[in-house]
Symmetry: C2
Amino acid sequence: MSIRDVAERAGVSIATVSRTVNRIPTVDQDLAQRVWKAIEEVGYLPNTQARALVSGRSHMLGLIVSEITNPFFPEIVQEFENLAVAQGYEVLIGSTNYEPARTESLIRRMLQRNVDGVAVMTFGIEEELIQKLVEREFPLVFIDHGPNLPNIRVLKVNYAEGIRQGVQHLAALGHREIAFISGPLRLRSAVARRDAFLKSMAELGLKVPARHIIEGTHTMEGGMTAMEKLVTLPQLPTAIMCSNDMTAIGVLHELYRTTHGVPQEISVVGFDDIHLAQFMLPPLTTVQMSCKALAAAAVEALRAGIEPNYPKSSCKEWNIPTHLVVRQSTSFPRGSLPAKMGLAAPSKS
Amino acid sequence: MSIRDVAERAGVSIATVSRTVNRIPTVDQDLAQRVWKAIEEVGYLPNTQARALVSGRSHMLGLIVSEITNPFFPEIVQEFENLAVAQGYEVLIGSTNYEPARTESLIRRMLQRNVDGVAVMTFGIEEELIQKLVEREFPLVFIDHGPNLPNIRVLKVNYAEGIRQGVQHLAALGHREIAFISGPLRLRSAVARRDAFLKSMAELGLKVPARHIIEGTHTMEGGMTAMEKLVTLPQLPTAIMCSNDMTAIGVLHELYRTTHGVPQEISVVGFDDIHLAQFMLPPLTTVQMSCKALAAAAVEALRAGIEPNYPKSSCKEWNIPTHLVVRQSTSFPRGSLPAKMGLAAPSKS
DNA sequence: GACACGCAGGGAAACGCTTTCCAGAAAGTG
DNA sequence: CACTTTCTGGAAAGCGTTTCCCTGCGTGTC
């Protein structure tokens, strides 16, 4: 099992085995072959822990997400994992479930495991522990925002652009009464999305009464609850923008339950473009944020912080683009152009 | 950072620090206090790798799933992680994406990381590598089936019961023409589900023509494709059972696309009861398989294999129950009892 | 007061690996 | 033929822990 067994079997020293495994070219051809054969025979796998102990680098990356059961995150996890593995890293995943205490213990555990760096994809924690890490120059990547310190890497999602596209799409269809269901406003990203919405509306000279801004939770349940409130309004808005797709799914569900047709009576726009979005009934018009770009930027940023010789791509901020994907949950406002209502049951997807 | 720094700062030997950290009671109160203070001051975190090197146990568990982006798996992951962490273990996650090569490299990587055991939740791989591990008595847990060897732990999901409940529910409503969309038949679990369906139908004396059994892929896309085929049949079945919820979601989507009402024209039953199922339009009637039970059994089975003194709960097989959850995607067959069609748009969820 | 006994704490080995240093052999040169 | 140079393989140190063993101190007893 250990390097010694291989050495013994091949009749060489453990140093030779180590050199062979690490493909150091000074090892004699014949010897190397004998070593590889012995490795094969005893089924030897180098012990990564021992390696890490010596080299000081564990080749593990931490990935912290808010909630693994929110379908948005598995998509990131998958991309991140693929990239990391392809580049010789293993990934330690943790979800905080939005509890600061869990976040703290998660980071602590990851540090004990000696991860080389951590990507914090939780859209808004502010931990004292993180401050300390930053000061120690431990490689960290944040999404959206991070401690305001010089050597911090942040992935900036361009919420404004995608949301503006969404608002303009609705306005172009003729909507004037557009409500917005935000995420939990203690998350910076939720605030950023809401502000982008308000700004986009203002640009078009459209008013947004306070009753049309509802705080949700970025979950399906939150979407339902928020929609329940909107449904009771004397005047139902003609379109709803949601801070993420899960909220939009909850909204669709509540509208179904209260027998409001989408998009005939009300249009719905999501955010994230999770894989599920296109399978909703109707397929969800939503703002796409590229998981691939996000994951790639995160891995790159981490490696830049970890590997001394990594080609410094100079920048400390990565810009993640967003754009609208129009599907069938949006249409003209109810009452206008009734001839077009056939859109409700499209003949092709 | 290391134990030596703490020892120096507290003016004791590293042995004493180690004993303090591990709460060995023979350490003097005052000394222990000094040590804890020093630990606090230098921000010491014990290096898990070094610990693992000595103890031979890494306190890491591997969890292999088929596809992290299939919402069923994150639910398992979350449960598994919660339980594992609560019991002092870390979790290394990997998804195979149904590729045997990935599975192999995944297991290899986990072994290099010295995981104490691996839960293989992929519903059907048969790897040579796994055979070897089994022979080495490496702790492994499988779902559904495993190599036919004496000391293998397997979580047996009781597909038969849940599926029988589903079939009987449909039959009780009056359905006779029930189609089944299976998973990929190279997966044992997919075969088991299909067979359970056929058996349940036979029990009721209901015939299942070959054209009513379609092989899917356990994905939404697969559900769509399968449903496309069923829709072209001269006689559309009145109900569809699906091998998992993702397939059912694809089916709902395709039925929406082809303007077939669910459940007025056709009833749909899923399997798994993922969290999303209740938010589908209409909320999906489905067979629940308990993630909690699954994860709990997996962790318990692994610990039994890892920890010498773990209370052997004797059994080598864990039985995971399933049962039907009736929601609104099932109703009477079209044409029968038209008075009841009001169910299509329920007034409460 | 001297000796035995018990117990807390320190020194050192070991875990599996990498890395460095050094010895010895082979080859080349005067 | 002897001496130097080069190159390969072996031996040993060290990474951060835990743990064993032994020292040395304190207490109790005769």
